[in-house]
Assembly symmetry: C2
Homo-oligomer: 110 residues x 2
DNA sequence: TTTGCATATACGCCTATCCGAATAAGGTTC
DNA sequence: GAACCTTATTCGGATAGGCGTATATGCAAA
């Protein structure tokens, strides 16, 4: 049953997390930060994207508490706010992989 | 390291799943279907949304293999394609809950 | 085959979001 | 405090995605 409180929580889940995950650049940022914290310019170098683009995406991730920022001297270091975020993404990836395998098996059927 | 194949996979993860999850109506549909399969009109009743709206969202979920459709007499029954989809969403929900608790604790600090 | 129910699609409009380019803001170093 | 480095923001234009309404399609029962 979709109780009002569940509806409310799912609405917030969308507003906070899911809509933030709906951009491939932001997914790449999260995976890059899953390895280790990085500064803005490091991220811009690694993703080969303009620095303003990176900053804009980091702002969205920061506002929704997916990443945290700490100043380190002249630069700002970003890190994942919760390691489990990539766990959730990895779970989706394995679902996706299994689906592809299943579809490939269907095609291979005589 | 963001290897080309990882970048490729994440790009597809976004295109297939994450962008499909970036709508609160679709999240509600997935949670409704997590309980039990339902027909289009049942879903429209439960979410109190127009039938074309439900059909449009179901099409998106179906195209990305998040749900599967089977005809049952005069109506069409939809079901989750993989139960783990809601597991991933539930993981995100618990991250969200923990974050809220953490922030509440910060505010409560003297 | 005609009628009717359930679902799917088309169209037009509106809003949200992304990007590139330019510029501002915040710290650090000298 | 002036110059510099890093990061953040703003602006305009382009695009994608959502919704309501109307309508089409697909089965099924008679």
């Amino acid at each position: 049953m979709l109780t009002p409180s569940l509806v409310q929580e799912i609405t917030q889940l969308h507003a906070d997390f899911c809509s933030a995950l709906a951009d491939s650049t932001r997914l790449l940022l999260l995976y890059a930060l899953a390895e280790r914290p990085r500064t803005v310019s490091e991220l811009a170098d690694e993703l080969r994207l303009p620095q303003p683009t990176i900053s804009r995406h980091l702002k969205i991730l920061r506002e929704r508490s997916l990443v945290v920022a700490t100043r380190q001297g002249m630069s700002v270091e970003y890190a994942l706010a919760d390691e489990r975020i990539v766990d959730a993404l990895d779970l989706l990836r394995s679902i996706m992989r299994d689906r592809i395998q299943y579809q490939a098996r269907l095609v291979a059927q005589p």
